[in-house]
Symmetry: C3
Subunit: 387 residues, 3 copies
């Protein structure tokens, strides 16, 4: 969408392009080189070319004295600045000299902001959203892991032919991208969104973290949490908070969409975050594969989680004559599956979805879903809605 | 009711009668004898007479290898089978031989299923139900203790002349009996049932266990739980689950009646359950007497638990001039009874029954009920409903 | 108001005045002297003059054997009695003798009951009530500390010119005074009372105790509790109970007003309570000053606690262009104030007041209120009601 586009209280800024940037000492040696690491330039920096002594140069240099080895990631989108970022260790070595500085960048008011969208249609118009961001992909966990994992979820879902829900995948610049998307499609999402997740910080070696939607017990939250509870020994669930990534926009009070975020180590919780140390070594392809599968398990729950009505609600139906109950026995060793059928029949009054039945019975969602399937095949259950 | 009677999804099966059953070895010695223990025959077994070698006989013998000393209790109501049950220890002693086997039983399609019902009328048409079962009374805790304790509750209540509620006692074959009863009288129960309990596993030496109704906080549950809390040091409260006894039918979603179950050691929680070891030694007449009194205490709570309106709701009424408050004092030593009067007056706005007032005040139900009686006598309370 | 005034179920009693009272032994020595300590006379005692031996005198003497050093405080308002109170230690020293006793008191059926009221008007007709009592001020913590602290709250609030709420201060004889006030002004209070507190037991050296209103989560309760949580390390919160002071009347079911009570050591919780040991040494002027400030902090919360609507509810408003957000940065170090602005914007949908936002965010009320003020100044919030 073109620079200058209005979206709610915001305006898409001019498009920034950068070809090169460096600082040379008086011997002509490049002591800062954008081509070596693009974090060396303050994001959205103004164009610059000139000479300056150490004192003046220092004014335009950003470091992290607390983490002296790393280059910080900094941006200045909404105030005009230029600047370089470098490690504090390297900065301390700079001597009095005459430096030549260059930032070969420009801002094009007739440029564009780029976003990606893909949709996999399903039987229902109700949608599951995966939203990830693409504005600083030179950092690995936050953010490249997000688009990677999202792309693999897309690939896996594309193979399935019997998708119940429609799946929407958004690759947007953080904040302004999500705001733009909502300004155009927010009302549609309000109408159709069944569940959604912001995919970020999903490639490191830490345990899973789930950040709840603002609603707090939306189906997004319940599906993610039952999967984590059943499959992970250690994980963290956090209530919604209004800082973070694009869930801030999806969960703003005017939308209040059911959008949570399944992460591994959450932004702000690891020191490499927003520095040059959030690099390829910090993430793991094995862990990202695990993350994809975890999201797929959540999707499986969403696809099978129904509300049912028991078609024989008065007393139990006779399961034995339908081959669903052992014909000999003494109640001594009811199997989990028989147990699950009893629970599904007892609670299927149109108010308890399968997640609720799994929680109340203590039986795994998978076995509850299997029981519901078997009972449905015999006509003992009727779907009354999705959970 | 006659065999063949339809009740919801079920049919009353033909009436089974058995005269004798045995297995003799080639010397004519009875190695299994129904007259010694009726658990030796698979419940609802087909008629049988013939000779078989050990290999064939083994096909029809049921044992519990994990509990080698006991005869299991097994039935096959809804699939045609014949069989014997014996201890694994005895089974291991059987030698190669020619055995003569006999089950002198028959199934009469023109027979009847037998049930018992007794009603003690009260001032109100609202009912308290006690339901117990009578299909395998040769086992002691589960089940003979149930009919015994129920009969004694009946005897005690019969002596009282001022019953507030109507009391209904049902003695039914488990499952099919309750389903039949509900098929005929379910709608009446829906209309009139105030509280109810399934009486089972109530004679052993264990602590009390209360299994809640599906509703979870019905008056049945609240009355049972306040009595246990006030009178027992150790006891267990379990949420409803849809396996178990006839509460499964009473609490099916089409009825969802307020029926819980006060037990001692719950079915499935003791190894003697559904074996020949659940015998007279396993139960205690002293404990059954205690159980009767515990149920009677619950009944007392139900009979006195009212919702009241304070007739002087604006500020406190002056208790002193009615002889209900000490005329000298300093608030230093308010008695529990005065305290209870203050609580009852303060909370009697038509929304808090006496159980709730007892819970909120931390005062025993008995003293709260006494306070309510005293205040009522002075015209300071008016009943607005039962709790 | 005149003696004989009817108020609900009560009548204002005749006015009691006492000039002197004593017991002299046969040598003429005063062994009990009202002028030394007015607790020596049973409150509201009848007039008396005569001679009696030790046995007879003993019938009219009240002591506390468990606390032998102190004179108990006792009254007999609603039954006609006369009597003296003394320490058990002193009582044990009395010898056989002929005593002269005198209580120079009278009850005037044409007298008056005295009460004090003061109002500081605010912008709104909605009121904050401070109610304290004045019937036994010769005891220090319970009760003189109450009128003292209340008077200082009044003095402080009088200095402020921009009071949002109207403040009402009541100095009443306990029980009968509050009942009288409610009989005359109860319906007005029902309409206008926003929050209220009974001020008592507020001068000793103990930690704070807050007793909730009967409502339990009224704005009175929520404001007091957030202040205690944020400023005190050790304090106690108690649910409402219907004994105690005048909250009994304000919280009777016919009024159910939002009236709690911030105390230090609560009546009944210290042994000096209602004895001569609750004297000037038991209280501290420094602690009473602290108590005044604590009440003023609660008032500050009440005055600033609003419900807001975010005027830009769809996505975040752009705080940067309004100077409310750092223009450079990386989300690494969001300040509490920026954080608080994000929380206020996100939760301001007309259902969450600032106390709720403070609780949910974990940020102090003060900073949440500051954030709300800054956002309001920029037009980003609109008040929809008081919390």
């Amino acid at each position: 969408m073109p620079s200058g586009t209005k979206c709610f209280d915001w305006t898409v800024p001019p498009e920034w392009n950068i070809k090169d940037a460096w600082v040379k000492d008086s011997s002509g040696k490049k002591i800062i080189d954008f081509k070596e690491n693009n974090l060396h330039v303050l994001g959205y920096s103004e164009k610059l070319h000139g000479k300056m002594n150490l004192e003046e140069l220092t004014k335009y240099i950003y470091t992290l004295p607390d983490q002296p080895e790393v280059i910080p990631y900094l941006t200045s989108y909404y105030a005009s600045r230029f600047g370089f970022c470098m490690s504090y260790k390297q900065f301390r070595k700079l001597k009095e000299d005459e430096y030549e500085v260059c930032i070969d960048a420009d801002k094009n008011p007739k440029g564009f902001m780029t976003a990606g969208e893909a949709v996999l249609p399903g039987k229902s118009k109700k949608e599951i959203l995966f939203s990830t961001y693409i504005c600083h992909p030179s950092m690995a966990n936050n953010e490249l892991s997000g688009p990677l994992v999202t792309a693999y979820i897309y690939n896996e879902l594309k193979k399935k032919e019997d998708r119940r829900f429609t799946y929407r995948f958004l690759f947007l610049p953080e904040t302004i991208g999500a705001i733009w998307y909502l300004s155009v499609n927010g009302n549609e999402l309000k109408k159709n969104l069944h569940a959604g997740y912001v995919v970020t910080c999903i490639g490191d070696r830490g345990n899973f973290t789930y950040k709840r939607s603002r609603i707090g017990n939306s189906i997004s939250d319940r599906a993610a949490e039952i999967v984590l509870m059943e499959t992970e020994r250690k994980y963290t669930v956090e209530d919604f908070f209004p800082t973070g990534s694009d869930e801030r926009q999806y969960c703003s009070p005017g939308f209040n969409l059911p959008v949570g975020s399944l992460m591994r180590t959450r932004y702000g919780k690891y020191s490499e975050y927003h520095t040059s140390a959030d690099n390829r070594n910090f993430i793991s392809f094995k862990k990202m594969e695990e993350s994809v599968f975890k999201y797929l398990e959540i999707i499986k729950v969403l696809e099978t989680n129904n509300l049912y009505n028991n078609t024989n609600p008065e007393c139990e139906p006779q399961l034995g004559k339908r081959g669903l109950y052992p014909t000999i026995g003494s109640h001594k060793d009811t199997t989990d599956l028989v147990n699950a059928m009893m629970w599904v029949l007892n609670l299927s009054d149109g108010t308890n979805d399968l997640i609720k039945i799994s929680e109340r019975s203590g039986l795994k969602f998978k076995i509850v879903a299997e029981a519901a399937l078997k009972l449905s095949e015999k006509g003992l259950l009727k779907i009354t809605g999705e959970g």
